[in-house]
């Protein structure tokens, strides 16, 4: 069995990996090479980027927006996971409604968000009814627009985080809660000393995965504010390619994004590995 099975396994692992590498990694490497092509091999494209104020804004936003988005989606996701796990009777209706934002295509959610948050959109319409002043939710380059983008991005992804955390919550043995209750711990203390520590591995894992995803934000910003409203590296690269028709500069910008994601992603994975090693020792 072993030799023949090993041959099968080799083929079975190589075919998908070669396919993925060919379709995704090779073009990226090709793009890396092309990004150094500015009338011949040079750093010219990168120098142009560094001289563009919008590039620096995109770079800063590409750290701020994902950071905010991850915080919001974890706060909401945890709250929802706790709320939906706790009651004795689980409601299929509530669970379905909680998952719907995940089932709906992202472009549909973003289209909706645009109609809700635009200057004469539904949110300002509702606010106007109460007599209060309308707010410029998507005003270009404003902090409010950044908050709106963070909220919409987080809202679409919250069900995924909720599901991940629910899986972690359900793995916590009931005896621990029983023991805490017998010791006289209230809800808050139970939460602090039982739930959160037991949930930490799931939280750390989910944080890294969602964090990497959040860094690659593209369609949220494109649909809500356009590339000039809340610039991030992916929309900046896209506008260089589509509006300005400068593919090499666009590739240079996208390489910087890839570098950022790689650094943060690898750093996160290393942290997670050390964290689980340390925690394993504690147990």
């Amino acid at each position: 069995m072993n030799a023949a099975a090993k041959k099968l396994r080799t083929v079975f692992v190589l075919a998908p990996c070669v396919f993925m590498t060919a379709m995704l990694l090779l073009p990226a490497l090709n793009g890396l090479v092309l990004s150094f092509d500015h009338h011949g091999p040079s750093l010219g494209n990168y120098r142009i980027l560094l001289g563009d104020p919008m590039f620096w804004r995109a770079l800063a936003n590409n750290l701020l927006v994902p950071f905010g988005s991850v915080i919001v989606e974890f706060a909401l996701g945890l709250a929802l996971a706790l709320a939906l796990t706790a009651p004795r009777k689980r409601s299929a209706l509530i669970e379905t409604a909680a998952i719907l934002p995940f089932a709906i295509p992202e472009i549909v959610i973003l289209t909706l968000a645009r109609y809700i948050f635009m200057p004469r959109g539904y949110l300002n319409g509702a606010i106007a009814m109460t007599g209060m002043h309308a707010l410029p939710w998507l005003s270009p380059r404003s902090s409010l627009a950044m908050l709106t983008v963070i909220f919409v991005d987080a809202w679409h992804v919250t069900p995924v985080v909720m599901l991940m955390l629910m899986a972690g919550l359900q793995a916590i043995p009931a005896e621990l809660y029983e023991a805490a209750r017998l010791d006289g711990a209230g809800t808050l203390a139970t939460f602090r000393f039982v739930t959160i520590p037991m949930l930490m591995p799931a939280i750390v894992g989910a944080l890294i995965l969602r964090g990497i995803d959040a860094l690659r934000i593209f369609s949220t910003v494109l649909v809500l504010t356009g590339p000039e409203g809340v610039p991030v590296l992916s929309t900046y690269s896209y506008s260089l390619w589509d509006d300005a028709q400068k593919p090499q500069e666009a590739m240079a910008a996208s390489m910087i994004l890839a570098l950022m994601v790689t650094l943060i992603g690898v750093g996160g994975l290393l942290f997670a590995r050390r964290y689980s090693r340390d925690n394993g020792a504690l147990k």
Binding site: M1, A4, A5, L8, R9, V13, P16, C17, F19, M20, T21, M23, L24, L25, L26, N30, A79, L82, A83, T85, A86, S91, A92, I94, E95, A97, I99, L100, P101, F102, A103, I107, V108, T111, L112, R114, Y115, I116, G125, L163, M164, M166, A167, L169, Q170, A171, I172, A174, Y177, L209, I212, F218, V223, L233, S234, W241, M251, S254, V261, T262
Partner: protein, 279 residues
């Protein structure tokens, strides 16, 4: 019962908070659908009114009619279906192979896992721009059939497919395989006749997840199919070109596959979603 974060006799404050949260969740899920539905059946003059109309005053089927009359919309629907079907088929074939190999040996598991993790780090824009140039050289950039896009979607769906099916393959006892081996079956035959049937639920789930992943995908579709579009970039185009009525009708149509699946499969899908999205 496992996983209870607090006892049922917690104070009325907590119960009230939970009630509010549940209400917000339902509102957050239902209200957006209502807005889209309303915009798709009311004339645009009403949609542009200020303050907004919360209830429709006049109804019209013109927007849905335009979705089915304009030939570009019809071909976009077909193209989205085709790309989703082809990419899902490729993804679960290769994904099943990867998941099986990963479940049978630590070496293949770490190889597969490293490749999948590394691939996940690549941003869409980093891949899509040079990929467009490569596809153009091959002659399949912006093709009417969407085959270039289908290949990309297959590649990005393989991790999801593999991780959805991994647990099922890993759970198959080796004794069953060894029994078939003793009976004279080759490892490939064992995979096809013994393992696949046992893992069929996971395979079906993976198929659905990959289909929806392709159906929903926006970034690569926007960059690789410029004139022969699939539905997501077409919806984007309609929205930014100020056609609220047809855009809303199109958006509702786009939701049909995913909503059907989520509602119909319910809690069994939740487990699969967790496995597939936990990656």
């Amino acid at each position: 019962m496992n996983g209870r974060a607090g006892s049922d006799t917690a104070g009325p404050g907590l119960a009230a908070a939970r009630y509010v949260l549940n209400a917000l969740v339902v509102a957050g899920g239902v209200l957006p659908l209502y807005i889209l539905a309303k915009q798709s059946v009311t004339p645009e003059l009403e949609t542009f009114a200020w303050p907004p109309h919360w209830m429709p005053h006049r109804l019209t089927i013109a927007h849905f009619a335009s979705v089915f009359e304009v030939s570009e919309l019809r071909s976009a629907i077909l193209r989205s279906l085709g790309v989703a079907a082809i990419s899902a088929a490729i993804a679960i074939t290769l994904g099943a192979m990867l998941a099986y190999a990963m479940s049978r040996s630590p070496i293949t598991r770490s190889t597969g896992f490293s490749t999948v993790s590394g691939i996940r780090l690549l941003p869409m824009i980093t891949v899509a721009i040079p990929l467009g140039i490569i596809l153009a050289t091959l002659g399949i950039y912006d093709s009417p059939s969407g085959i270039g896009l289908a290949l990309v979607h297959a590649a990005i769906a393989i991790p999801t497919a593999a991780l959805t099916m991994y647990a099922s393959f890993a759970a198959i006892p080796l004794e069953i395989e060894e029994a078939a081996w003793i009976d004279g079956a080759s490892p490939l035959r064992i995979f096809l006749t013994v393992d696949l049937p046992i893992a069929r639920t996971a395979i079906a789930t993976a198929l659905i997840l990959c289909f929806i992943l392709s159906w929903d995908e926006f970034g690569f579709a926007l960059l690789v199919q410029q004139t022969n579009r699939t539905l997501p970039p077409l919806l984007y185009y309609y929205t930014v070109f100020g056609n609220v009525g047809p855009a809303s009708a199109l958006a509702l149509l786009m939701m049909i596959p995913a909503v059907c699946v989520v509602v119909a499969l319910g809690s069994s899908l939740r487990g699969a979603l967790i496995a597939g999205t936990s990656r």
